[in-house]
């Protein structure tokens, strides 16, 4: 490995399932034998607010939060939130985002507009940008609720971790009934 620590940021809207995705990432890295830390804020922001979770792994990790401007991968669950946290990424970092727009309160009430052309703006700043239609692929996998797992699959491809650890972590953290469909969704994202 060229760098000691890999920094991943998961961003989106409270209630989107960011916590579970970051749990699966952390579990995978631990299974693969790395030191892992992750950090997020619970509480007030969960009520539909903007959420960011930090996951870091390597031989020895100190800070549980990613130092500003040192993120390697931004894993976005929603377009506006993906854009909000771009500054946490290093230059040349990767962005993998779900093609989903959830309007914030000021847009819902018509006071502001949901910005247009976000995908192009991201692409111009971060050439390694993958826009994923999570919902479509999740439906193809058999359950619209596995969109996050599709995205996780896409993220997994950017990381040098054997597939078996990802699947083991998913098995541990999703309900047994949902394991098969989540595996399918994960592989759909991984094979994009």
């Amino acid at each position: 490995m060229s760098r000691a620590i890999t920094n991943i940021l998961l961003v989106g809207v409270g209630g989107q399932g960011i916590l579970l995705a970051s749990e699966i990432l952390s579990e995978t890295f631990m299974l693969a034998g790395f030191d892992v830390k992750k950090s997020e804020i619970h509480g007030m922001s969960q009520r539909g607010g903007s959420v960011v979770s930090h996951v870091r792994y390597g031989s020895e990790v100190f800070s549980p939060i990613v130092p500003e401007g040192e993120g390697d991968i931004l894993f976005g669950f929603e377009m506006l939130e993906t854009c909000r946290y771009l500054s946490l990424l290093k230059k040349g970092g990767s962005v993998i985002a779900n093609d989903l727009c959830i309007p914030p309160p000021a847009v819902l009430s018509g006071k502001e507009q949901y910005p247009e052309g976000l995908a192009e703006s991201i692409k111009s700043r971060f050439p390694d940008f993958l826009l994923v239609d999570g919902l479509k692929l999740a439906n193809e996998a058999g359950n619209p609720r596995t969109a996050n797992t599709v995205l996780l699959g896409a993220v997994s491809k950017r990381l040098d971790i054997p597939e078996e650890y990802w699947l083991k972590a998913i098995e541990k953290l999703v309900p047994p009934k949902a394991f098969a469909v989540n595996t399918k969704a994960f592989l759909a994202g991984r094979n994009l």
Partner: protein, 590 residues
């Protein structure tokens, strides 16, 4: 065995390994998950208390009875528990007692960012501060040993970044051979009348001196020499940031942050050319180091407000010319719409705040999800101080303003907050006959912290059925003559009830009886028929948007007035928006 645990999960594990018998807490971010995880260990009697003082009182009783006890609370919760805490310092313990204070620098979910390290000095008890989840577990165990060895309660201080961060923890085996709890009388030690307390106070002073000496050789106070140019005294999560940003600096990592091991600090200071303290919030360590006659730089360099981050530490040390500047990111996108938290679709609080806004009430608020009633477009909250403050605040306002303005004053408080400390305010209101109106938003759960049970919810932390306090009966029993229960989904009735009670020159209480939409227990929250907007009938008047429901979406139309629409996936069928529409454009779907 290794597991990835949050700081809170690790403290719960540590309590189990330490042989804790009793755990008590009132939920509060970022401490809540300690008790929620302790219930995994069936050996521990764990319960929610109505407030933090009661939880500490219970912990004290368990300790006096000879069992180990842990109580957990957020930083401001310690203010509520402060009364027994100060005297507990005098009595000491029987079984070990650990109080976890979970501080919230940056106020991610709090009304202030008080630095509870000051309590350790004020109360004269030792305080440990872990820097990751492994230390959360290990320090919890150690805290019990120190508590019993030195006959003192021990405070364990975390911050949000420790409580809610996860890292790998090597689990241990539970301790064996702890004495069985039993009644032992020792009145001279436990009855704090002046005569007895005067005997205890000198022992407290002696104890803290001994603990300071103990800290010098204690292995959790660790000197890590990496060179003699720069030395940094630090503890908690800032230690991790320092290791990240200043990897070559020598560190004195303190695990016990009160009392400080002054001899060790002097030794460390003598080994480095330039000494710094990196600590969040107050210059707590810095001032004591300076008082010991040691030259040190701290808050002259680092911010006193907010949490530290790797970036903020880098910025400070870059200014001092010690590290390179922060990576500039020209990649930030500007002017993005914000995304503040919002009440959920179908939240029973929404209609009440809409009515309060319409009635131009002066609303003294309280702590809970309903504090979001402050946010536009509801914009119906004028004060919010602390748990339970709303009713007393309303009484005070009524006492001073002109007769006509008195009618405007309404206190708004949730069920759990009312039972926490609001109830005392209501006693005053009845006792002193103050003509204010109190609205108790009874959603049958402690919602903001993540849906915890409370004495009015009918269930315990362990999920056992419990006697449910009847809030209307309680208010009547306290002597409130005007008590009424309303359905907050009925907008006209809600507004009318509030108006009538505001105008009444007597104390009155209105209780709303719709449950939180997030309550998972079957049969509590029932979804109604989902609503939709008829495009034909919608005139684009935007009235329905005034309630700020996330399910109501404004659809702009090119060159014309836009129209409202409803996200059927988010709509819970509460029906509030339908009642607002003058054009009957919002319809119930069967």
């Amino acid at each position: 065995m290794k597991e990835i645990l949050s700081g809170n999960e690790a403290i719960a594990r540590g309590a189990f390994e330490a042989g804790v018998k009793v755990a008590s807490a009132y939920p509060g971010t970022p401490s809540t998950e300690i008790l929620e995880n302790i219930i995994r260990y069936k050996e521990i009697d764990a319960s929610w208390a109505p407030n933090e003082k009661v939880s500490l009182d219970i912990g004290i009783g368990a300790s006096f009875g000879g069992g180990r006890a842990i109580v957990a609370m957020k930083h401001v919760g310690v203010n509520v528990a402060a009364d027994p805490l100060f005297t507990l310092s005098y009595t000491g313990v029987n079984g070990g007692l650990v109080l976890v204070t979970a501080d919230d620098p940056e106020m991610h979910s709090s009304q202030n960012e008080q630095d509870n390290r000051n309590y350790a000095k004020f109360v004269k008890v030792p305080m440990l501060e872990p820097a990751d989840s492994q230390e959360c577990k290990d320090f919890t165990r150690l805290a019990f040993e120190i508590s019993e060895k030195y006959d003192t309660p021990v405070m364990l201080r975390t911050t949000t970044r420790i409580s809610h961060s996860k890292s790998i923890v090597e689990l241990g085996e539970p301790v064996q051979g702890l004495p069985e709890p039993k009644l032992v009388r020792n009145a001279a030690k436990l009855v704090m009348l002046p005569g007895n307390a005067r005997v205890r106070h000198p022992l407290v002073e002696e104890r803290i001196k001994k603990l300071g000496e103990y800290g010098v050789s204690l292995d959790i106070n660790r000197m890590e020499m990496r060179g003699n140019e720069i030395g940094i005294i630090t503890s908690g999560v800032p230690y991790q940031y320092v290791r990240e940003i200043l990897p070559d600096a020598s560190t004195l990592k303190l695990g016990m942050i009160y009392p400080l091991p002054i001899r060790l600090i002097k030794d460390f200071a003598s080994r480095v050319k330039k000494l710094f303290v990196v600590e969040e919030l107050d210059p707590f360590i810095e001032e004591q180091v300076r008082a010991a006659g040691i030259t040190v730089v701290g808050k002259d360099l680092l911010p006193i407000c907010g949490e530290l981050t790797p970036g903020r530490i880098r910025e400070a040390f870059a200014k001092a010319g010690i590290v390179g500047a922060i990576h500039e990111s020209p990649l930030q996108m500007e002017n993005l719409p914000g995304r503040p938290p919002n009440m959920c679709p179908g939240c029973p609080h929404r209609g009440v705040f809409y009515a309060l806004n319409q009635l131009k009430a002066y609303v003294t608020g309280d702590i809970g999800c309903y504090t979001l009633g402050f946010m536009p477009p509801l914009s119906a909250m004028d004060t919010c101080i602390c748990m339970g403050a709303s009713i007393g605040n309303a009484i005070g306002v009524v006492k001073v303003v002109a007769e006509e303005e008195k009618k405007k004053v309404v206190a708004v408080i949730g069920d759990s907050t009312f039972l926490h400390t609001g109830i005392n305010g209501l006693m005053d209101m009845v006792y002193n006959n103050v003509p204010a109106t109190v609205i108790i938003l009874d959603n049958r759960i402690t919602a903001m912290t993540g849906r915890q049970e409370n004495p009015a919810s009918g269930f315990t932390l362990m999920d056992n059925p419990a006697s449910r306090i009847d809030i209307p009966d309680l208010c009547r029993a306290m002597g409130v003559r005007n008590v009424r229960t309303i359905d907050p989904y009925d907008l006209a009735a809600t507004k009318n009830a509030i108006q009538v009670e505001m105008n009444r020159p007597e104390p009155s209480v209105i209780i709303t009886d719709r449950p939180c939409v997030l309550v998972k227990r079957e049969g509590v929250f029932k979804k109604g028929p989902v609503l939709s907007v008829s495009e034909e009938k919608c005139t684009g008047c935007r009235t329905c948007l005034k309630i700020g429901c996330p399910a109501l979406v404004w659809k702009p139309v090119e060159g014309k007035k836009g129209k409202a629409s409803i996200d059927y996936l988010l709509c819970t069928g509460c029906d509030v928006c339908r009642q607002l529409c003058k054009f009957e454009a919002i319809e119930r779907n069967k």
